[in-house]
């Protein structure tokens, strides 16, 4: 650990990304993500990287995918409205298997909404924003330090699985400033991209060896010639109108995430060992939940926190493991109940699942969570 520095979440994203090998940013200004663009414009040329401000978010994600196809680790950053504009090309990145990282610093919506206020209303958009059946990996940081460490993980996963990774932040974390001790660069694990085809590929850029899920490609301009397309394609990358090949491709795209879900899904648990009530939360809601857990514990209540760090795929196996000890669950999120649906699906009616959310652009306070816990308690006694 180095000495502590005062940093903002958005800034930490850029510094962590650079440590992960990020060298290309294309973006369009939007609150509350803009500092990521500004910091990238300042920092990238210093490390030989490239920054470009595009004409809109559609062009931004297009340029990011293009730069990645040419061999650079690339990222863009936006907020809800811009994230919506990017969705078509995010699907392209999934289909064409081009690694990149998309940061969404969520704000209150829908539409222009409350542009400077916090929210977590893009949780479902992160998974279902683009069309068709597709895998999504999304990670949500809860502190400035995690903005740094988890953006590195976002790049690593993106490179490893050759798929766009969503870094699902929110205004609270993006604009949070706190002292952080950044890890020593030598201690970081960085996944370099495999810059050549798989053995036996015979120039087939989408060739995947038996039992594996992920192709390997040489970047454009390095002595191979191949085609990339968003159409259903065979292993050579050429479009085909074959139902069988389309099925095989989409199934493999889904399986490369599904079959590795145990490696991808990470959670944080707090005071869960003997907990009978679990508060589920992610990202910017985490601090308030931890504080509420501490206060509830001081009152002798057996409350713990279960926080998905990987928010897509939802870490259902980890939550399911906790179910036998739990009597109830409270989902706390800054929306009208989005992750709630994943929790309910995982719980499958075995436990009562309560919900505390908000869509007014304010933040949920620890006291509001405590009140909700008391209210749930009261409901139970009333029975």
């Amino acid at each position: 650990m180095s000495k502590a520095v005062l940093m903002q979440g958005n800034e930490a994203v850029v510094e962590g990304a650079i440590a992960a090998g990020f060298r290309f940013f294309a973006g369009y200004p939007i609150t509350p993500s803009t500092e990521i663009a500004e910091q990238s414009a300042l920092r990238l040329p210093q490390v030989g990287g490239k920054f470009i401000q595009m004409e809109d978010e559609i062009a931004s994600i297009a340029a990011v995918l293009g730069a990645s196809a040419a061999g650079m680790k690339a990222m863009t950053a936006t907020s809800g409205p811009g994230f919506s504009l990017m969705q078509e090309n995010i699907g392209y990145g999934v289909m064409a298997e081009i690694p990149c990282v998309i940061v969404d610093v969520q704000r209150a919506g829908p539409s222009t909404g409350l542009a400077t206020s916090p929210a977590q209303g893009d949780y479902m958009q992160a998974k279902w924003g683009t069309h068709g059946d597709h895998p999504v990996i999304a990670i949500s940081p809860a502190s400035v330090l995690e903005c740094y460490t988890l953006i590195i993980r976002a790049f690593n996963l993106s490179e490893k699985y050759r798929t766009p990774v969503i870094f699902l932040m929110d205004e609270i974390v993006g604009h949070m400033r706190e002292g952080v001790e950044l890890p020593n660069p030598n201690d970081l694990i960085i996944n370099p991209r495999k810059m050549s085809f798989h053995d036996g590929a015979n120039k087939q850029c989408y060739y995947v060896p038996e039992g594996e899920f992920i192709p390997a490609m040489k970047p454009f301009g390095q002595g191979e010639r191949y085609n990339i397309t968003g159409l259903a394609h065979d292993e050579s990358g050429f479009p085909v109108n074959s139902n069988e090949i389309a099925d095989k491709l989409v199934t493999r795209l889904l399986e490369k995430v599904e079959k590795n879900v145990d490696k991808i899904c990470r959670i944080e648990e707090y005071a869960m060992d003997d907990a009978e009530t679990a508060i589920v939360c992610f990202g910017g809601t985490t601090r308030a939940v931890m504080s509420a857990v501490l206060k509830a514990r001081a009152e002798g209540k057996k409350v713990g926190m279960f926080r998905p760090i990987t928010v897509w795929p939802f870490p259902e196996a980890q939550l399911r493991e906790r179910l036998p000890q739990l009597k109830k669950i409270l989902m706390v999120e800054h929306n009208h109940g989005q992750m709630l649906q994943e929790v309910q699906r995982t719980v499958g009616g075995k436990l009562p699942v309560d919900f505390l959310g908000c869509v007014d652009g304010t933040v949920i306070s620890p006291d509001a969570i405590l009140n909700k816990l008391n209210e749930m308690e009261g409901k139970r006694h009333a029975k």
């Binding site: 004409e55 559609i58 454009f220 010639r225």
Partner: protein, 281 residues
């Protein structure tokens, strides 16, 4: 007889292509391959095949990327120039050629076209301009002439059309030109100059779509449409020597505007240098 170029530069396993009989796209694709071939062969323009990246959007035109045996990327509708911008900025040594259509680059992708032109980033945009949306079956595009018919303009097109070459010039492109299917030799030469030009270049190539545009508007078959090009599109050298009366109803092909504005990636290289010097202070 297919030329040797086809064996050399096309993905022969994937031919024949999907275009309709009489479509002009195959000729334009051949023009692009010939232009690249001539540049590779010419000792004065040192480059090799791996230096070229072909980027396309969606539509009839954009299927060309898959047939050309280069690094090629067939992207989303309208966004080829966005992808191309990322490729070029990531690796400025590459010659990045965008193959696009009138709808792809001037309707859904119009914003990207004008901003790439304004930045003067070194891309060569070749527009397969057939005045219609062919892939979806003949709807009017931003270049369909006013009054012409299309499946979505059964009573005649109310819109006024874009002149894409002039649009590019107006947006600040440092090289803007026009070619066509009939004048293949001239068009190859224009494409070569566009590729060699250090800056944003656009070649608006008049294609022909006998299947939809031609049939809907009683323009005759492919041969008739080519004859029209032969008689009404005039290479620059000839056009300049024509009188006003002779020019009536005719359009010039060739380089329409040219400038040596600073090129984006070269300017950005200076930013990198400046930021690193500043860091060392």
């Amino acid at each position: 007889m297919p030329s040797d170029l086809i064996h050399e530069y096309m993905r022969i396993d994937h031919l024949p292509q999907i275009w309709c009989p009489g479509c002009g796209n195959g000729v334009i694709m051949h023009d692009v391959a010939t232009a690249i071939h001539e540049l590779i062969e010419d000792p004065d323009t040192p480059c090799n095949r791996d230096d070229f990246v072909i980027v396309s959007g969606i539509g009839c035109s954009s299927r060309a990327a898959g047939y050309l045996d280069f690094n090629s990327i067939h992207t989303t509708h309208g966004r080829a120039i966005g992808f191309a911008t990322g490729i070029k900025l990531a690796n400025p040594k590459l010659h990045v050629i965008v193959l696009t259509g009138d709808g792809d680059c001037s309707a859904i992708g119009g914003n990207h076209l004008i901003h790439a032109a304004r930045r003067n980033i070194d891309l060569s945009v070749i527009v397969f301009n057939n005045d219609i949306y062919g892939m979806t079956g003949g709807q009017y595009s931003p270049t369909t002439p006013n009054g012409d018919k299309a499946t979505t303009a059964p009573y005649g097109n109310v819109d006024r059309p874009f002149d894409i070459a002039n649009l590019a010039t107006g947006a600040g492109a440092s090289f803007s030109a026009r070619g066509d299917v009939f004048h293949a030799r001239e068009t190859i030469s224009i494409i070569k100059q566009a590729i060699l030009h250090k800056g944003f270049s656009l070649v608006d190539v008049y294609a022909i779509c006998p299947t939809y545009y031609g049939r809907k508007n009683k323009k005759g078959d492919a041969v008739e449409m080519l004859k029209w090009q032969k008689e009404n599109l005039v290479p620059t050298s000839k056009f300049y020597h024509m009188s006003e009366e002779e020019r009536a109803g005719k359009k010039m092909i060739g380089i329409l505007s040219y400038n040596d504005y600073p090129e984006y990636t070269a300017e950005y290289a200076k930013v990198i240098e400046a930021s690193q010097k500043k860091g060392k202070k």
